[in-house]
Structures are given as C-alpha cells and as structure tokens.
Symmetry: C2
C-alpha cells in the first residue's frame, strides 16, 4: 500500500496531538496522526480541571501567562469542538473552591491566596461558613477556603471523543500504529517510520485506515506530541530528544445519583481534588509519582485518595467506585511544556504539558498549527522552545539540547 | 430437546451446590446443576478463610461444632477435589493471627481469647514482639495477638474451578440457566422450571449443555442451594421458602511480589482480615452490610478496608489493587446454615451459610449428598433443619416456616 506524502505527521493522538492536527487541517494542511490507541493515554486519565489560578506556582510567571491565555480560549474552543465533533465536551464554568481542613492547611491556603492576589488573579477568600454555603457537603471542620471563579472544568473523555470526530471530519488521517523513529535526509525530516511489529490498524477503511508496519509515512513536517513517550523516538541523536519523563498519576472515577450531587464545583484540598461532572460522576485525583513507566494501581494511592476525599466531602463514602485509572503525565525539567522547532528542520515538539495538558490544549493547538502553516513561532509560545534547556539542566532523561 | 429425568436437580452452582452435586454423583445418583454463572456468586467473592476458631461467636455452640467438623474434613476434601479436578485448590494450613492495634482492641481480643479457651479451642496468646516475630510486616504499634494454628485457608476461586471439573468428570450435567420455580404434584416435587427468558446455555455441547428456556427439568429430588437467591423460587408458598437474605460483603484483591510476601498467614484485626495466597496475591475483606441485593463497590468500603489493612500491615500500600469484588452472603435469622428437608416431599435446602460457605463446603457436601442417597438426615446437620424457625423468628424476609 502506498500513500501520498502529507504536509505533516503528528506523532501522538492525545488531546494535544489531535488538537494540533485538527487546527492544522482547518488551516488547509494535509495531516496524519499516528497513535496505537488515540486519546487513551494521559488525556484519558485526566480529571479535566482547567485551573490556572488554583494551580499557580511560585516562579512560573511565563507559564501562568500561557495557562491564563489558554483558559481564556477554552469557552470558544469548547464551542468549536462541540460543533465540529457533533457532541458535547462537558465544559462547565463552575469555579474551583480550595479548602483547608485544619489550621496548618489554612495557613498554606492563606499564603497561596496572597500570592494569587499579587499575581492579579481573581480569587475570593472565604470563611468556613461561606465555604459550606457554597458546598453544603463539605466537612463541618473545614476552616476556610479560596474560590477561583475562573477555574473551570471539561469532561476530558468527552473532549477526546469530540476531537476524534472533528479530526475525521476535517480529513485528518488516523494511523493506528506506533512510530519507531524519524526518517531524515541530511538535516531535514522526511517522515515517520512505523514500528516493524504491533498494531497496523484498520487497512483501507477510509480516513481511519492503517498502514503496513515498517512503512514510512512521508511528510515535510513532523510534530512530536507523544506525551511522556516523546523522548523515545529513534532516528534522532539522544541529545536531540525532548527531555520529557513520565510522572505517574492515579485517579478514581466515582459515581452517585445525578440529582444529589456530591458538590457543584471543583473542590480541592492540599492532598486531593474532587471534580464533579454534573451527571453524578465524580473524579478524585491525583497522585504525583516518579515511578518511571509503571502503571500499576496501588493500594496506598487509592486508600490515600479516598481518605482525603472523605475528609473534605464525607458523602464521598456513599459513591460507587467505578474505575481506578493511571496516567503518565509528560514532565519537563521546569514543569512547562516544550513547544516549537527542534533538532532537524521540519521537526516540531509539543509535549511536556505535565499537569496542564487539557488546560493547554486550545493554546497549543492554535499556536503549533500556526507554526506548521506559517513557519513562524507565535509569540505566546516563544518562551517555551527547547532552547531554554541549552545550558545545564537538572538530572533526568533527556539532557542537553543542541 | 428432551432430557431424561434425573435423580436430583441442584439449584445453584456455588461451592455448596457443586460440592453436593459432586458427592451425590459419586454416590451413584444422576445429578443436574442449574446456574446461570456457576461459581461466580458468593463463592467467587470469598476470601477462602477456614476459620472456625477465629470466627467463633457467643451462643453458637452447635454451629461451632459443625464448623469444626467441616474444618477437620478440609485436608482430605482438598486432596480429593484436587485429584478429581486435576488442579490445585490452594489449601494452606498456615494458621490465623488475630492482632490488636491498641489497648481497646487488646481488651476485646483478650475477651475472645478467654472464650476460645473455655470452648476448648487451640489458641495461643501472643505479645506484640511475638506477633512481629511471626509476621515481621506488622505495624510496630500492634499490642498483642491470638494465634489460631488450626484456622487455615483455601483459594476459593481455584476451588470453584476444580469442583467444576470434578463435577463434569463425575457426570454431573450443568445447565446454564435460571431456575424460575419448582414443579410439584400434590405434595411432591417433580422438578425445576427454568426461566422463560435469559441465558439458555451451550446447547448440546456435552455435559455443560443448556436447556431450552421454560423447560422443566424433571427430578425426584431438588436441592435449593442458590445462596441468597434461595428465597425467591416460585411454585412454593412464600412461608415455605427458606428465610435467607443477602448480606453484602466488599473485598479487595491485591497483588505483590511472590518472593516478598506481605505476610505468611491470615492476619486479622477487628475491622479487617488479610489473607495471603502464597503467590503474591492478597485478599483484604470484608464489609458486612445489609443493603439488599445492591452490588455496588463503594468508595467508603474500599477506603475503610485499605486504611484498616495499612494500619495492620503498612506495606499493603505498596501492593497493586487488582480487583474490587462484591459478594452477597446468604444470611439466616441465626447466622447458621439451613440444611435438610423442606416443604414438599423431595425438596432439600442447603443455604444460609453466611460467612462460612467455603469452610462448610465439605461437611455440607458430604451430609446433603448422604441425605439424597439414603433419605436419612445425618446427625451432624440435624440441628440445622428449617424446623428450628417454626416458632416466632426475628423480623426480616422469610418469616415463619410451616
């Protein structure tokens, strides 16, 4: 089977890769996405919090700006994906309430609040009673809270499904296979080589068809958007691969009656977050573990998450435990994504989104598609090129970039 | 399709029903077992503890005698089932260690110990250090314990598999269907009527073949061994049905490295038991809940079981959480099984084993098969007839027996 070269191959079919492919196809490019199981990696395991304010961290000013810019794009992006995908994505502008169980928590929350205010973020400090007025299910011992009205949520799994349809309708070709390496000529990328064994996909069944194992998908541009696996592609010098590593996260999917919701907005403690879906489903997450590519669900993580959730919202105990999930977030040396040209000409990276992959989907899709279409790096992502790691970097996989 | 009448139809293919069918077939009877999913009820969800000593309760002298008699049969029964089924059942005579986390627990354990001694049971009182010498993984704060060397374990799922093969090899016919009611003539049982819809099984594929829905399986004797569903059979006056009710139990299946076992024998606290399988698997159980036929896994139960297990054996946290399971134990008004003739002539009940179904499998199988073969009630089960509920009984499903 022979395929025409396309303009760009996107390696990785999570929300980042799908978003880029969709936007690039809308811009008139011919695009192929390679993934063994599109949308079933970190995108599937996420909770769907869109929380630039609640998750702000000291010393990450440029990242905060990117996060806020992407959050601002979310309402329009959600509407567009729903239109293009013909199904809801569960975007809910409900706000996020961070609460303190005890005096220690409250002191930490006060520090966070002051930092948020210094950053000019929209937050409201609440007393215990005000928290419980917003969320009557909170434990009476809750000491206080911070409401971030602009921190919203989306149903990440619904987003995956809608993006897959949107891509298909936009003419994106999906190849169910694994990328083994880059094909290059001199200092130029010429395509992606598929792995010699493994799933070769659905044959010639239209846009979702497969490609024979070992085949090279020819393309003038390749986007490396394979999350924590983006550091493992062959055909590149080791030091040219993005310094990405897996950061294990364990989450729980719970379910209760839709008409008696556990809570009506995201509720967070210092150790746990609880994200209600509006239909009775509730996501509880998440651990942050440096365990390599281990994807085991552990008794300790499940026990700790359940205990922490029950401490905040005691009625959690009554919910059904529907699913335990492990995701591997793509971590970078500075917790910020890696976006922009990399190594050989024609190669673009879009990974390292760490805990913010869902939040950063709109901004990443828009800007990386623009880069593919125009060859110019949009200003919004200029600070996030691989060049920032040219000097000594913290220990870990990856290391120096050329 | 027409089938010859058989001597006995056993309604229910858990370990109780399978054990009876196997023994009856060995005694020369022709036997049919009816079950939609043999062995997938309470037998599948059990932990496999054989603990007459550890689970002794005040005021249950006759039940203790039956439990001890069945425990004594276990080594021989296990060997026979393994021989007949051609596979191991994981019988392990490892003993059970009950431990106290704190002074309150220790006082309760001391009471239990004294009662066990008065009953003439073999138990040994241990100090904290002695407990930890036996089980180095115990939390250092454990205050003391009681070792019951005679309380063993079996792999209940391996037992199910072996009994299914043993039954097949002994000529027992398995019908994959649901019993809707009894067929009677006057005051005699004449067979079992299958439900008019639902799984009708595997056709004419040998001994595991099915039967058309709505068919009557003709038989001179019927054994009602359908666990907590034994009270729902049609064709009987409501007051003739055994007063059995579902008692929900939630359990966890964990897994760790086989060469670094979490513990080497059953370890119990007041709120939890931990049963190691010898191959790295560990069962943690169990809740006892009056929730009707609800089989939801709840966040509260999983969280509480994990917390309690981690308090006893902290390394539980490192184990993989492989499976969450719900079983519905068949409870009776006095927690003892209901064994013997019932209602119309030819009907025998064998249910209500509550938490002791696996333990009581050998004694139940032997005695009920003997009853079927000879028409006489063996002395061991004479105290457990339905007649004991002829007077006023505690409130609940079932009620008076005729």
């Amino acid at each position: 089977m022979h395929h025409q070269p396309c303009d760009a191959v996107v390696v990785g079919g999570g929300v980042i890769g799908l978003g880029i492919a969709w936007r690039a196809a809308q811009a008139g490019l011919t695009v192929t996405v390679v993934d063994e199981a599109p949308g079933r990696g970190a995108s599937w395991a996420a909770a769907g919090m869109l929380a630039p304010v609640t998750e702000v961290h000291y010393g990450e000013d440029e990242l905060l700006a990117l996060n806020l810019a992407s959050a601002a794009r979310w309402p329009g992006f959600a509407a567009e994906v729903e239109e293009a995908g013909g199904r809801p994505v569960g975007y809910r502008p409900t706000g996020t309430l961070a609460v303190a169980r005890d005096a220690d928590d409250n002191a930490a929350l006060e520090d966070l609040y002051r930092f948020q205010v210094r950053c000019g973020l929209q937050v409201e400090r609440l007393r215990s009673r005000e928290c419980r007025r917003l969320e009557p299910g909170l434990h009476p011992g809750v000491r206080g809270g911070v409401l971030a009205a602009g921190d919203h949520e989306v149903d990440n799994r619904a987003l995956v499904r809608a993006l897959l349809v949107a891509c298909e309708r936009a003419g994106v070709r999906m190849v169910a296979g694994r990328a083994a390496g880059l094909a290059t000529e001199g200092d130029r990328v010429t395509g992606v080589v598929l792995a010699g064994q493994g799933t070769a996909g659905g044959g010639a069944d239209g846009p979702a068809g497969g490609a024979p194992a070992g085949e090279t998908l020819a393309a003038g541009m390749v986007v490396l958007a394979a999350g924590c696996w983006s550091g493992g592609l062959g055909g590149l010098a080791a030091e040219a691969l993005p310094p990405v590593r897996p950061v294990k996260g364990q989450l729980l999917y719970l379910r209760g009656p839709a008409d008696q919701p556990l809570c009506s907005r995201n509720v967070r403690g210092l150790e746990v977050y609880v994200v209600p879906r509006g239909d009775g489903r509730v996501v509880v997450g998440a651990t942050v573990e440096e365990q390599g590519f281990d994807v085991r669900v552990t008794a300790g993580a499940v026990g700790d998450l359940l205990r922490a959730a029950m401490e905040l919202l005691p009625d959690t105990a009554e919910l059904e435990l529907v699913e335990t999930v492990v995701g591997l977030r793509p971590g970078s040396p500075d917790n910020a994504p890696m976006l922009g040209p990399a190594g050989p000409e024609g190669l673009v990276v879009a990974t390292g989104h760490y805990r913010n992959g869902i939040l950063l989907c709109p901004a990443t899709a828009d800007t990386v598609a623009e880069l593919l279409a125009t060859g110019r790096v949009p200003e919004l992502i200029a600070p996030f090129g691989l060049g920032r790691f040219a000097g000594p970097v913290p220990a870990g996989p990856g290391g120096r970039m050329p």
